[in-house]
């Protein structure tokens, strides 16, 4: 099992750094949306939230983590390698022929549950998994990490209604609420203002947290997971797209901006000197 003693903040910083390194080697990857959910994934994977066995990715008793963020989960690559899902050498050939780690993670990667890339499918599939587990008497939990932009996809709302109807309290939606989709701030496109209240109106239990406070994320997720109260759970994590990269952080077009190699070099050098 995953040790709970790991320093989560240090781990999150290490993942941030590794993610930048991957992007420097593979500039085809989308970096900004992979920097906002780092603490979410660190809390899930190192914080004792997910029950998983890296040596047996398809372990039947595992908690299911459905990652739905498309391009925006490149930061999972160092995490899964670090945990032992696949050899760390894979990180050297992201987006390269013969590798398994693409610009969008696929389920050929040990540790990934489903197809990811076309947005808005994760929550529905996860709801089916949660229903199947419940009807089977299983005690495993299902987590979904979704971007806020992909909540524009209507199929999500079909699943949101479905999950509360069927009292899927083993289902947890974590929204990486960085407030920016590809062409700008969601408030200027189709707003998700008051997302927690909207989900509550649909029968979900919601918490709204600072998505970069990894310790708070950890404790909230552990609480939500333990609370089998007949309601699906949503954790709305307020995050910054492109976090920690000047010119990218919270920029309207962060999704399509590519930081220059020398900027990445100087950021990493400064980090070395830290």
């Amino acid at each position: 099992m995953i040790s709970n003693s790991v320093n989560l903040q240090e781990k999150a910083h290490w993942v941030w750094r590794e993610t930048l390194e991957i992007h420097r080697r593979a500039p085809e990857t989308r970096i900004a949306s992979s920097l906002s959910p780092i603490e979410i994934f660190v809390a899930l994977y190192y914080g004792g939230v997910l029950r998983i066995d890296p040596t047996n990715p398809r372990w039947i008793e595992r908690d299911r983590c459905v990652i739905s963020k498309g391009h925006g989960s490149i930061c999972m690559y160092p995490i899964l390698a670090d945990l032992g899902f696949f050899p760390a050498e894979e990180l050297q050939r992201v987006c390269k022929a013969g590798g398994i780690l693409g610009g969008i993670p696929d389920p050929i990667i040990p540790g990934y549950e489903t197809i990811n890339g076309s947005l808005g499918h994760g929550l529905g599939v996860a709801s089916g998994m949660a229903l199947g587990l419940k009807r089977n008497g299983g005690r495993q939990s299902v987590f979904v990490v979704s971007g806020d932009g992909e909540l524009h996809e209507g199929a999500n709302w079909e699943a949101i209604m479905f999950a509360s109807q069927h009292k899927l309290d083993n289902l947890h939606l974590i929204v990486d609420n960085n407030s920016i989709s590809m062409l700008g701030f969601t408030d200027d496109i189709v707003s998700h203002d008051g997302l927690a209240k909207r989900l509550e109106a649909f029968g979900w239990q919601c918490v709204d947290v600072d998505g970069h406070n990894v310790l708070d994320l950890q404790s909230q997720l552990l609480n939500l997971k333990a609370d089998l109260n007949g309601r699906p759970k949503a954790l709305i994590a307020r995050t910054l797209k492109g976090r920690g990269v000047p010119g990218l952080e919270n920029e309207a077009l962060a999704h399509i901006l590519m930081p220059k190699a020398d900027l990445l070099d100087s950021l990493l050098d400064a980090d070395d000197a830290r």
Binding site: D106, I115, L123, G128, L131, R135, M161
Partner: protein, 327 residues
Amino acid sequence: MLVKPRAMRDALLEQIHRAMASDPSIFFVTADFGSPVLDRIRADHANRFVNVGIAEQNLINISAGLALEGYKVFAYAIAPFITMRCFEQIRVSLALLSEVRPMNVNLIGVGAGYSYVVSGPTHQCYEDITLMRALPNFQVMSPADHITAGMLFDRCVRELGPKYLRLDAQVLPPIYAEAAPKLADGFHVHRREGSICIVATGYMLHTAFAVAERLRGSGQTVGIIDLFDLTRFSRDRLRDELSRYQTIVSMEEGFAGRGGLDALLYNFIGHNAIDVKLLNIGVEGGYRFELGTRAELHEQVGIGPDVVTRRILDFSKSSPSFKNDQR
């Protein structure tokens, strides 16, 4: 043997209902679409039945999730909606994902072609063969009667992978009352005579028999093949069958020249270098809003027995036998 005509869906659902009693891994999901047999599934197996509401996108994703948890899933809805409303969910969550995570999901679409006669083009379905066979790992099956539809259950429950069953909404006369078709062949030869062979699927098999009767009146005999499995039919056997003829007539209750049965046969005949001419019978003239009986609508769009008979006779006259010309 007297076999009462039945709806295809009832024959299939009855098999599912029966099997659910002994196989706890079968799960049934519907998008608010019913039938009397479905009521029995809901009553007797409530723990493995879910109505997702009028939400086909969710129907597919829920089905995928259930299948990932090991269930054999049957998903049930009106044909155009379970294929086209949610095509991207089908592509991503079923077709793509099942390449990595083998799963058993069976889409049952009711309302092939013009089955929903008076409901108009939203409920009619002339594109599904094209779309579903474009997904390379999908099995697409199109039975012509309830006996074949019921038989397909075994295939569905036994074999992993995504499948689409295209069922007629109307009660059609049984074709296979005497002897069931061989599922492994994927097609059944009803008549083997003359120089022209009609290859039909679904409801159009019934039209093929009507056309054959009319042609007989004009002194013309034809072969008839029911191609009920559009993806797994025996290539060798079908090649041997088609090679007997000089002209092949494809008949489908779907748009002509848009990638359906006609394209399937063009490709098959070309690939196997079978020396025949091909006449495609399918819906002509695009989307239409005329009202009428199914028989009347079929004549209007070029797939009714009268118009098809004329077209075959004209085709025979205007294109003398290719093989004879060669000799």
